[in-house]
Amino acid sequence: MSTNGDVLIQVKEVHKIFHDSLHALNGVSEEILRGEVVVIVGPSGSGKSTFLRSLNLLEVPTTGKIFFEGVDITEKQTDIDKHRQKMGMVFQHFNLFPHKTILENITLAPIKLLKKSKEEAEKQAMQLLKQVGLEEKAASYPSQLSGGQKQRIAIVRSLAMEPDVMLFDEPTSALDPEMVGEVLELMKKLAHDGMTMVVVTHEMGFAKEVATRVLFMDEGQIKEQGRPEEFFENPKDPRLQEFLSKIL
């Protein structure tokens, strides 16, 4: 039985090199514990997305290992598709399926991958839609939704797989300012319900309020980390001090 505090994801000495020269990750080791809400901040190009995307192997590390629920997913023989079912991912640009209705967007994976019946999957989807207040959009297509609604649907689509962790890559960066709030609200609710989350974001308010831990990435490394109070009140790394002074 798994409980809060267990190691959910373990990253060991990961390097990622693009095009034989660009060192996007430069020796990253980290553990994500069950129940944590880890927020990653850092300047543009520092490797935040690359780190997040390597957690579910959308980026394959050049060297190093990543364990998810005790299994080495960087091992060639590992069935990565099976493990990805347990790791939801939310993208900056939503990536809803435009040729499918909202309901189909949500039920596709549970039906095809978890072998749920259509009725069962739709019932679950409607419950989730109700929780985010978008039931009446079930039959709509993504193009008929606002950005904030699209992102909330994208989150619901991931939740329908009942993941053990949710990965967010700048989920509010593509949104009009007036829509950021509704997405952050939903993410806060998820955190309160105990979902393990790893979130790359520029929303420092969210980090301060919701994060259990904040990581600062710079030049492909995690340069500093801590609980939000000490991270924001008392930064030690000079690059972090400079970064915080620019954005706060």
């Binding site: 790791m87 991912m89 990536n95 435009p98 499918k100 596709l108 991958l113 993504p142």
Partner: protein, 230 residues
């Protein structure tokens, strides 16, 4: 004037039921075009799958190489030469009727062009769609089948319609293997009546009408697809 027209019309089309050359030739042309397009779609689809799988994952290296050779050869040589080679060289020693040979030749030729249509269709789908599929736990193949292909196919439908129109005209060289298609039908009448103008004009007119009609249909399809976002 009118009388000479009537007389010519009579000798070219009515006498000895010569209109049948045109009518039956039209049937052959449509039959060859339709099945060649279908064959081209099958071949083109398979090649596009191989090539985009290689592009995205680096797998299927050998198959990809074979596909590239095929594309280079087919697009680098005239379709008439391909038709002649298939009929006289490949099937030279076997007794085979000409329609399947023509379908095969034009289908293999069309496949090279359809492959590029499909490939650009697949490439036009935002990589985020692919990543969303993979991150939910779909395999590469499942992501292609459930998410990428349906969108790509919709995008390339008009281009496939155009390929049909292109092929409709290209099959007019079928006469090189003595297949009696629409063009050959008109040509046979010409050789019987020694009147070139009327039968060939009729043939040209029939092609033109078909092309105009099919172009119109493709345009309607295109507009429909553009208006329905999904």
């Amino acid at each position: 004037m009118l009388q000479t027209f009537q007389k010519k019309f009579y000798t070219n089309f009515i006498e000895d039921d010569r209109w049948k050359y045109i009518w039956e030739g039209l049937g052959v042309t449509l039959q060859v075009t339709l099945f060649a397009v279908l064959l081209g779609i099958v071949i083109g689809f398979l090649i596009a799958v191989v090539r985009s799988t290689y592009d995205k994952t680096g797998k299927l290296k050998v198959l990809n190489l074979i596909c590239n050779v095929y594309l280079t050869v087919i697009r680098g040589t005239p379709v008439v030469v391909q038709l002649l080679i298939i009929y006289f060289v490949i099937f030279g020693s076997v007794n085979i009727s000409k329609i399947p040979v023509a379908i095969m030749a034009f289908g293999i030729n069309s496949g090279a062009y359809v492959a590029e249509i499909f490939r650009s269709g697949i490439m036009s789908i935002d990589n985020g769609q692919f990543e969303a599929g993979r991150s939910l736990g779909f395999s590469y193949a499942q992501t292609m089948v459930y998410i990428v292909m349906p969108q790509a196919f919709k995008n390339v439908l008009p281009a496939l319609g155009n390929e049909f129109i292109v092929l409709l005209k290209e099959t007019s060289v079928s006469g090189y293997i003595a297949l009696q298609d629409l063009t050959k039908g008109g040509d046979i009448i010409r050789s019987r009546t020694y009147d070139a103008l009327m039968p060939l004009l009729a043939v040209a007119l029939i092609y033109l009408i078909m092309v105009i009609v099919f172009t119109k249909l493709v345009n309607i399809l295109e507009r429909r697809l553009r208006n329905s976002e999904h």
